[in-house]
């Protein structure tokens, strides 16, 4: 039985200048790269498969299996693309990881590229995080100077180039095929699948796209072995992972634990829900995962556990909202976000999110009717599953789940003739005596 918290990815974050190569190497950095380069690429893939690592970007697809889909008999170049476009509301794990220890990611990039025999790897980082871009640029340069990136890496005969690429502000680029279009210098709009990126990805070539945390988990799996990794976690959700607590808890932040910890345990570690208040609703993995309530405090936070209560583990972005928050206001704001970020390619999403906002605005301002709720749910049904990508499905998740859990609160808005909540009460400065 592992300890309650198991810092692995975050273990060097309290070291002096942990973002520099010298500090990373003092913590054993790049030992895993040496070990991997002495293995056959197929054995590196097998180790990651055996570890049970599943994609940490939300979908939970087995990472090693994704790598094994790259057709090695295809004569085209192969590419690794790291999705560092962290933008899902509530999600805030990859950014602190890249700020504190960019080399963990860079070492993972080199090992993963070697495993799939990629000649170039791209780190697509969202543009709105200047200091993260600086630290990634510096880490890649340090790795080049040390001979970890470039020609004949550590005498292995393997060549690799790594490019840090800054995006320009578009949530949709976190969707893997939209990210590829964006990386090709186009509008970030999702592609129809098949063909999947493993067959025809970047420039029509075989491509693996992985989340930052997935790739950053690779060095330690190679170093300590698949069995070590799979000794943590639950039956089908292996290893340790970063849980991000935000909102109305005493000590929000990053908590690295084995898969399957519960929210009750995490909130306890974070010092409890804001004093004088109670948990009202929460997201298990960002705003695109259906809302849960205090009924679900003991659900194991792994892929199966959260799935069994009708939501998704997603990015493990635990946004905690206490009883001062109006759920209609919260859902309206998320819906405005999806409307703004819809790329416009598919009609159900482009038009549907616009109508969702119209109806929710009416409800929040007390001008709705019970029939509006029926219309809203009908609209959700007509949007979900009818677009190229999951943005539209994400847009309907908070609406449908909030109506299921808090229908009375929606009704109270038009019985009350407006929102019954004081927006000041939910702020962090509500008790600090400050005012707007």
């Amino acid at each position: 039985m592992a300890d309650t918290l198991t810092p692995v990815l975050s273990d060097n974050w309290d070291q002096i200048r942990s973002w520099q190569l010298s500090s990373y190497q003092r913590s054993g950095g790049y030992d895993a790269l040496r070990k991997a380069l002495a293995m056959q690429p197929a054995d590196v893939v097998a180790t990651v498969k055996d570890s049970g690592l599943r994609g940490r970007g939300g979908a939970g697809f087995p990472t090693g299996m994704k790598w094994s889909f790259i057709p090695q008999d295809n004569p085209k170049p192969k590419y690794l693309v790291v999705n560092a476009d962290e933008s899902e509301p509530g999600t805030c794990k990859d950014i602190p990881l890249m700020l504190a220890s960019p080399h963990t990611l860079v070492e993972g990039v080199i090992i993963a590229s070697y495993a799939i025999r990629a000649s170039v790897a791209f780190i697509y980082v969202r543009g709105e995080v200047l200091h993260v871009v600086r630290r990634l640029q510096q880490a890649v340069q340090e790795a080049k100077d040390a001979g970890y990136i470039g020609q004949n890496i550590l005498g292995s005969g393997y060549d690799l180039d790594v490019v840090v690429h800054a995006g320009a502000g578009a949530y949709i680029c976190g969707e893997e095929t939209a990210l590829l279009d964006s990386l090709e210098g186009r509008r970030g709009q999702p592609r129809l699948r098949p063909p999947f990126p493993a067959v025809a990805g970047l420039y029509g070539c075989p491509t693996v796209i992985n989340n930052v945390e997935s790739i950053a988990s690779v060095p330690v799996i190679i170093k300590n072995g698949a069995d070590w990794f799979s000794s943590m976690g639950t039956e089908k959700s292996k290893g340790m992972t970063l849980y991000s607590l935000s909102g109305h808890v005493t000590r929000p932040g990053q908590y690295e634990a084995p898969m399957g910890i519960t929210l009750r345990e995490l909130i306890d570690l974070a010092g409890g829900v804001r004093e004088g208040h109670e948990l009202k609703f929460w997201t298990p993995g960002g705003s695109s995962t259906p809302l849960l309530t205090s009924e679900h405090l003991d659900v194991p936070l792994d892929y199966e556990g959260v799935g069994s209560v009708g939501s998704m583990l997603g990015t493990k972005a635990l946004q905690i909202f206490d009883d001062s928050v109006c759920v209609v206001r919260a859902v309206l704001r998320w819906t405005e976000f999806y409307k703004h970020e819809s790329c416009g390619k598919c009609t159900p999403c482009r038009e549907g999110t616009w109508w969702l906002v119209q109806i929710l605005e009416r409800l929040e301002h007390g001008k709705g009717t019970e029939e509006d709720l029926v219309t809203l749910l009908d609209l959700c049904e007509n949007i979900t599953g009818r677009s190229f990508c999951a943005l539209a499905d994400g847009a309907t998740a908070p609406i449908a789940s909030s109506i299921a859990h808090f229908k009375d609160e929606y009704l109270a808005h038009f019985e009350n003739g407006g929102c019954p909540f004081d927006p000041m009460a939910s702020t962090v400065f509500a008790t600090a005596g400050a005012s707007a």
Partner: protein, 242 residues
């Protein structure tokens, strides 16, 4: 693949139109950016960041320069430039000030901070103060929810904000006082930040800490209680950041 150009074209770029500041040196840098990629068009996003660093916005001349370097039409480049929210058609001030108003930050105080700043600066969303110093914009989630309410200045983090600390921050920026991000560097200008995003390092990666309090919350607790992953930690007893 067929419609892509595998190398940048050599076509001359007209740079001397209007008040554009795009020079031969800018064009040379655009070609340099294009050379980083297996297919030159991949350079378009960083090239548009470079245009903003030179012009203070995406200008028609900047669009034409990108188009000429990559062998695209101006319409193709415009289609891309108008898709992404970081590319600005109107001039941006020295400091781009963003307030997150996505749900979590909004309820934690972001809405009230944004209202206060609009009043204080006498501007609306995506508008610039008369002195050309500050452009105010409300932002979507910037991946720092554990520090809510969050603001960004030239895409550097400002954590745990209040209406008071927000007005103090913009006053300091307008007065030319040195301002540091609690998890980043001393604030540079928006144009300088855009140059870094184009891929030109500014040598400031070593400024700032490894992370803030929330970043280290779980790790500190694990250290206090002696919790580690199986096999222990090689870092638990070594020298720490403050």
């Amino acid at each position: 693949m067929a419609e892509n150009h595998t190398t940048a074209t050599d076509k001359t770029v007209p740079y001397s139109t209007g008040d554009s500041k795009i020079t031969d040196a800018t064009i040379a840098e655009m070609r340099e950016i294009a050379a980083r990629y297996p297919v030159a068009r991949s350079a378009l996003l960083p090239m548009l960041h470079l245009v903003q660093s030179v012009e203070g916005r995406v200008t028609p001349e900047g669009i034409e320069a990108c188009a000429d370097v990559l062998g695209l039409t101006g319409a193709e480049v415009s289609a891309v430039a108008t898709f992404y929210t970081m590319y600005k058609r109107r001039p941006v001030g020295d400091y781009h000030v963003g307030v997150c108003t996505n749900t979590l930050c909004a309820v934690m105080g972001g809405d009230l901070i944004f209202d206060r700043l609009k009043q204080h600066l006498d501007v609306g969303n995506d508008e610039t103060t008369e002195d050309g110093k500050i452009t105010l914009e409300h932002l979507e989630c910037n991946a720092a929810c554990d520090y809510a309410p969050v603001m960004m200045v030239n895409w550097e983090f400002f954590d745990d904000m209040t209406p008071e600390s927000a007005t103090q921050l913009v006053d300091d920026l307008r007065d030319g006082n040195e301002v540091k991000s609690p998890r980043g560097a001393t604030i540079c200008t928006w144009r300088e930040a855009e140059r870094v995003l184009a891929g030109y390092a500014d040598g400031r990666a070593d400024e700032g800490p490894t992370g803030g309090k929330a970043t280290l919350a779980g790790l500190r607790l694990a250290r206090e209680r002696g919790w580690t992953a199986p096999g222990g930690s090689s870092n638990a007893d070594t020298q720490k950041e403050d």
